[in-house]
Symmetry: D2
Subunit: 240 residues, 4 copies
């Protein structure tokens, strides 16, 4: 059983009517719903819960975390962001969605600014598969389309991905590395760009396929307890 925690700052859906109409119970509930299955259990967490819903107990019992945040990145306390980062380094998988490229845990794990160009004109997006043998692309064709999305454009300030899975085309003329895999410590990280709050992106079958695939890809086999520099005995005790 893969234990997923879907974290959402859950603000837009309560404050903005056009978002509420798309995600009445929050983006997290829609993602949780389509993920739940025989071998994936899901719970949700949101910014306004104690410790952002990410108590040590929750984090320690999460195999893969999904992160959606946009307007309140700085409301996540540094210590919670650090807790999430450390869980990844110990083995937890994490999937950053859309505007999470500016979240604290993403910045902590990538080391770069995560900056990119953007405009919100509801352009058509076409997500191209550039690594067809990646398990995250399983079940997809050469590309899939989103009728409208927020446009993100290069340059995207990220480390060179360990594997680049998707590149997106936007009708308004832009390209973007929209699916990026990383190993960080014992954990796996996947960034996936689609998911603007006013677009019904998380109802689209191919988007669900990607996130489901990414959860299975990111699930750890095991974890380490601590991140320390051990003082180890010489491997050749008698020296050379």
């Amino acid at each position: 059983m893969i234990r997923v925690t879907v974290w959402n700052e859950f603000i837009h859906e309560k404050k903005r009517e056009e978002v509420k109409q798309v995600y009445p119970n929050g983006i997290h509930e829609v993602i949780a719903d389509f993920l739940r299955c025989d071998d994936i259990s899901v719970r949700c967490a949101a910014l306004d819960e104690p410790e952002c819903g990410l108590t040590r107990e929750v984090v320690d019992s999460t195999d893969v975390m999904i992160w959606w945040g946009h307007c309140a990145h700085d409301k996540v306390p540094d210590e919670i962001a650090k807790r999430v980062q450390e869980a990844v380094l110990k083995g937890m998988g994490i999937i950053f969605l859309h505007s999470a490229h500016m979240s604290k845990p993403f910045h902590l794990l990538m080391g770069t600014s995560g900056t990119l160009g953007w405009h919100v004109d509801g352009d058509k997006e076409r997500v191209w598969v550039c690594a067809p043998s990646s398990p995250i692309a399983k079940g997809l064709g050469r590309y899939f389309e989103l009728p409208q999305e927020e446009t993100y454009s290069e340059p995207f300030d990220i480390p060179e991905p360990d594997r680049l899975v998707f590149i997106s085309w936007f009708a308004s003329g832009e390209v973007f590395r929209s699916g990026c895999c990383y190993n960080r410590g014992r954990g796996k990280v996947f960034y996936f760009q689609p998911g603007h709050e006013t677009c019904p992106t998380y109802y689209i079958p191919e988007v669900r396929t990607v996130i489901r695939n990414a959860v299975r890809w990111a699930a750890p086999e095991d974890r380490v307890e601590e991140l320390v520099c051990p003082n180890v005995a010489p491997a050749e005790p008698c020296g050379v």
Copy 2:
């Protein structure tokens, strides 16, 4: 002084009127012309010369080779392709242009099929810089445009680039990794997609900037004489 050899199969320009009009003396001459400057010397070579114009002497005195080929990849003898590959492994830089993704030297250096999707509708292409600090992107803005080009699309069967510098957007809906850097042996390899034979691509200032930058980037500091597995003395002669 960087010594460049521009290799062109030089067939389309002699056989097809619409190509001859764009490149009356061959693509190679246009490239050679804009590259020549105080610290870059250029000569050309073509398929119909003895040894494809790539005698051992020519290859040994080339710092950076530029390769354009399309309809006659299989006319290049295996031994010439191997000679070019080995020169790269010993330190020579190489820039593969456009349809050279199916050339023998590219296949030998990449190890993959180099396959991609394509169609020729003269679509507009926009080349986006995704690694703005790469020396190959020096002097460019966020992107530059080509009014018409052959469309190439993902998936492009190449090894994950050591550094991905450009991603292209095509008006007909495709994306393509259009600028890819690799280290191979002691040499550097750059693949750059623009340059269909019926389009005046190599007259476009930004394209010239890229190729000029790539020549400087790929120029070797030194080379090795041989590619061998030396039987070396133990570094610790007395053992552990």
Copy 3:
């Protein structure tokens, strides 16, 4: 069921007494024996069989190939080497053992010379895990030891691995990147250095663990039929 084919040139074991004593039926039979289990089926192939034992039928029904060769790399016909390469690009996994770094299929897939330094003094080798979360390192501690091995040393002329899993220490003072992962086309490639013909390396439990892990890691989920450049219809048929 993962279908493995263990290929061995099978010459040393027949000609040299000190090798025969270690591997009386050939290195391939020892590897085949420890690999066989409920979900892994194994057959062997050798250089002196028709088509090197690698007929199209054999290759097409192999999920993961294991390759051991040393003194007869050039006896493998180019077309057989090419057949193996193409199978990998279509999805077959491959594990190159020890001196296979100079085999034709390795060269075809890597694009580099595969050269390295070496000496045969039966030194102690210690294989360090540098990517502990790799599935290929599963079940191993921080390192494991081989009482005696042929010494390989850097520089090893390979592309930067997509993931470096092992680095080896040799008592005679050398280091070597001894476990290297690559994606090539749809297939996965793993190079693993231990296995000199006079050393009982393939009887060592940790070596068996690594090869078993690598087989599972390299097994494809699916494959493509052809390696071609499709002429595709524009994704946006009406243009921009």
Copy 4:
């Protein structure tokens, strides 16, 4: 002129006699001395200066920073560490020496824990060149030796290097990725392991060659002013 700032926490040299004997004026002064030349200007900064000697003015006028720290990583305020990270993302080069793998700026730029194994027995170290064509290895042979160093061992918790230049062998049986290159934002990062405070490492010619090479490699051509997500106009204003 490349403007280098050598930062040192400068504590061991004042407090511990055996360190003072090796570096009477501090490690930074020794590094500064051998770096200074016609095209490299050097100044130093230390922990006990105001703002750790890293005022905005100092950072803004530094092309390449060198960082040595060990026992007082946590004495560097978060905002100073962040300032250094951001300077790198905007283009400044940085070289992390030895125990700087646990410094705040290294953690911020790598995103991993930087943990490793270690013991201090003054073992002999041999630094092997695994990327001989890297400009950082220029002027070196196959390897160079340090008569005594602190031993660092794998696994080293870092992202897969963009280029791995050195791997070290230790007489006590360990290996370590001792020279690692990264692109982060517009800047370049190099980690170089030698340099324990009680060992005269920074007097060794090859170590000086490496640091000098790394300074030239890491020097930026230009920088950006800000790290922001620009709201950009659509590249295709009329849409598709």
